[in-house]
């Protein structure tokens, strides 16, 4: 329970094929303090419904692409970005 109390709340957005994989486009989740982008991705990949996420996945934090070592903060909007197909 302590982990939940001190967990960092994150708003997770999912698009396109990832949204279909998750069955929804938005999730409120919690990550341990000190988590970085790569930790969040590992956490998501560790169990269904997102266990089939590709090894390298682009991530945006607060609407900007972010590197794997980016620290996460409470209230961050984190999006998993599948390969893009604009145009």
């Amino acid at each position: 329970m302590r982990q939940v109390e001190t967990g960092i709340p994150i708003r997770l957005l999912l698009f396109g094929p990832f949204r279909e994989m998750a069955g929804r486009g938005e999730m409120e989740i919690s990550v341990p303090p000190g988590s970085r982008v790569r930790d969040l991705v590992d956490q998501l990949r560790s169990a269904p419904p997102l266990d089939a996420l590709p090894a390298a996945v682009a991530v945006a934090v607060n609407r900007r692409f972010a590197p794997p070592d980016r620290d996460l903060a409470a209230g961050d909007e984190v999006a998993l970005v599948p390969p893009v197909a604009g145009g």
Partner: protein, 158 residues
């Protein structure tokens, strides 16, 4: 920058050209991308565009600003559709004005390539037989927040 929008309504070349024409520049270049009625031999009913709209709008504006700064364009206007786009409709329109033709071509091409390479947009192609699939995309990469990806392109390639 005259315009950088993700829109669900139909878009037209006229509208975009008017936005960049009024500066009196010597060269104007327009690119229009359309949904084709056939893709890889299959009859397409509609192309559904899904967008991370807030981020896409930011990136579209950034791309336009970069085209001005890096390529020497004076005005850039760009509109990208979201939602259902039918064959024959424009999905992407880019208009640029520049003092010289080389800058105009370079800027228009830059915007198109960057849109294809980093705009958070996905498309699901729906066929006449009712089946559908997500079209292959391009990995936008995992970058630091301030790094703007540069892509090179081959003028003669596909």
């Amino acid at each position: 920058m005259r315009c950088a929008e993700i829109v669900t309504d139909r878009i037209s070349p006229d509208g975009l050209l008017r936005l960049v024409e009024d500066g009196g520049e010597g060269a104007v270049v327009l690119f229009g991308g359309r949904v084709r009625g056939r893709n890889e031999g299959r009859a397409v009913r509609v192309l559904h565009y899904e967008a991370y709209e807030a981020m896409a709008a930011d990136i579209l504006a950034a791309i336009g600003a970069e085209a001005i700064e890096r390529c020497g364009a004076t005005q850039v206007a760009v509109r990208h559709r979201a939602g259902d786009v039918h064959p024959g409709e424009w999905s992407l329109l880019v208009a640029v004005a520049a003092p010289r033709r080389a800058a105009g071509f370079a800027a228009a091409r830059y915007v198109v390539e960057q849109v294809k390479g980093r705009l958070p947009v996905w498309k699901r192609e729906v066929y006449e037989d009712g089946t559908s699939r997500w079209l292959d995309g391009v990995d936008p990469g995992v970058r630091s927040a301030d790094e703007v990806p540069m892509r090179t392109y081959d003028e003669g390639g596909a």
